[in-house]
Symmetry: C2
Subunit: 341 residues, 2 copies
């Protein structure tokens, strides 16, 4: 049976939401896996007491320290060895757990995952991706989104290769298409690094490692021309955060506009409520909580990071995601391709 | 009286829209300035014949060649010396015109402006910015948006200084706030270039050249924390194009959602039409045509570039913008600050 370590202290709504999501995952799945919940006993145990934990495949592990959102990643990892973050990853390293899930400090989780688990042989730099809604079916996945800035061309190619494997085995996409995010579509556009990346991505395509469609531009992300959009983490991070701010921006515009219609009498309360509901549904694809989290790609183990705002549903989905990645042997497939030459 | 050279051949709807916008600007302003319309006589003159040009302060100048959207900028500038683009800029260089306006190939206009007009003394690299709507009053202006990729820290600082001058003198903003687009707010974040830019922007602030508020992130653009967002052109170009794709994406989601409500009978046709109108109005701030164009900053002359999709209204607004920039002596102010040490 699989064992999944869950960071009870990670996220804005921790530990309550994490506990709730963990309990839900076990109940819903019929105790299909074991969960080790890790956190400060004085905070977690009183909340756990509210659930019938005797019927659950759940163990609690005390971790006296907590890595906060304010902690500096590299510092926290070394200074807080007794944190739920470091202890959870150490369980994975010792093969006492098969995966680790957290909605805490992303930078610290990345640093700790790399430090404790190490890299998959052949991987130059582990990476992290994010997904965007799009007009065509499925999602657009952007890599890297901030874990690696100042990338070399070889890094971008590995990001594309790893995400291709992930999308193929974990998301079940036969041939995920990769586009190189650039300032124009034509070959030869962009910085020297991007020109070199274009060349290497073409090579990876001819070796059957990825399906490369060439350069794409910022407006192609939401259109969905590519399933995998590869870029330096500086570009990806800014696009991701810009995208995440769209719902709030549009929501504010929407409320102001709708209010005007109601005040002027052009629209009655009933239709305003219907319009409001429709608009909320429209923006749902931008909601980061819908899907749970994403795994770090390239670390030698499974470490899934969720958004700080993660709800119990997001935590539950991250636990299922961990199970799925283990079963589909994603890391083994990454290791195979990364050590090929 | 000011003379403004207008590229009749630039833009998707040229020359018809350009002629219309030019005529409107002269009529509306009461022939406040003179316009030299430049283009292929066989295409422009038949369309001009539909207007009472005798009453307008308008001259026509024949240019046998046309720079198209497909032309490679550096090549077109050298090969098409008889194009409306090159001839218009040469009029400015010869002081026979005070400004040049075009909605044609942006890259070619940038290259030609630099080639024909040269740089303002002290300017390392001319640049181009774009504006975004935001939650607070006014607009967020992003610089650079693709004219310069692989920037050095000194370039970013000059972009901020030039745009500060422009926003101050042309847009009338007393103290436009500048933010450095980065992957985190804390000082010390980002690449070596961004760390250096942070330091230099702080210095420029202490010299009173800009008002620097520190690092900002992608989600701050629409919030409006800064009036000027400075970044490398690779980042800015991708964010700009991503942003421009939002209306189409949301429009599609909106139509699908609204149709469902009408088909299911939840909303009647009357209210659906009101909702539709409201939604269209909401997305208007994203409409690039609303404001006209933007000037290249740092070239030794006034060269204003519009979106390829420019309507006659956009052309008209670009002509007014040219007049305004000349009157506010923006380039003289840039020259003063750029040669200060």
């Amino acid at each position: 049976m699989l064992t999944i370590a869950v960071d009870a202290m990670g996220g804005d709504h921790a530990p309550a939401c994490v506990i709730e999501g963990t309990v839900q995952a076990l109940q819903e799945s019929g105790n299909r896996f074991e969960i080790v919940l890790i956190g400060q006993s004085e905070k977690v145990e009183p909340l756990l007491a509210a659930y019938d934990t005797a019927s659950l495949n759940l163990r609690f592990l005390h971790a006296p320290e907590v890595v906060t959102m304010e902690d500096i990643p590299a510092v926290a990892v070394k200074a807080k060895q007794e944190s739920s973050l470091v202890k959870g990853l150490k369980l994975c390293k010792a093969k006492e757990a098969d995966a680790f899930v957290s909605a805490g400090n992303t930078g610290a989780q990345m640093a700790a995952s790399l430090f404790v688990l190490g890299r998959i042989p052949g991987v130059l730099r582990p990476t992290i991706y994010a997904y965007f809604p799009r007009l065509t079916e499925g999602l657009t996945n952007i890599v890297d989104i901030g874990a690696n800035i100042d990338c070399k061309a070889e890094h971008l190619v590995q990001f594309a290769e790893m995400l291709t494997i992930y999308q193929h085995y974990a998301a079940g996409i036969e041939k995920p298409l990769t586009g190189l995010l650039n300032i124009g579509e034509e070959e030869g556009k962009g910085t020297e690094m991007l020109k070199q990346a274009f060349k290497l991505l073409k090579e990876a395509d001819s070796q059957g490692k990825i399906s490369f469609i060439g350069n794409i531009e910022g407006h192609d992300i939401l259109k969905g021309h590519a399933t995998i959009v590869v870029c330096d983490g500086l570009v990806g991070n800014n696009i991701l955060k810009f995208g995440e701010s769209i719902p709030e921006f549009l929501g504010t515009l929407f409320r102001t506009s709708l209010e005007k219609l109601v005040i002027s009498g052009e629209m009655d309360q009933h239709n305003a409520a219907i319009t409001s509901r429709m608009f909320k549904g429209m923006l749902e694809p931008f909601d980061v909580e819908t899907f749970g989290g994403v795994p770090f790609l390239g670390v030698d183990g499974i470490s899934i990071v969720g958004h700080g705002r993660s709800s119990s549903r997001a935590i539950k989905n991250m636990i299922y995601m961990a199970e799925h990645i283990i079963e589909r042997r994603v890391n083994e497939h990454i290791a195979e391709v990364m050590t090929e030459k």
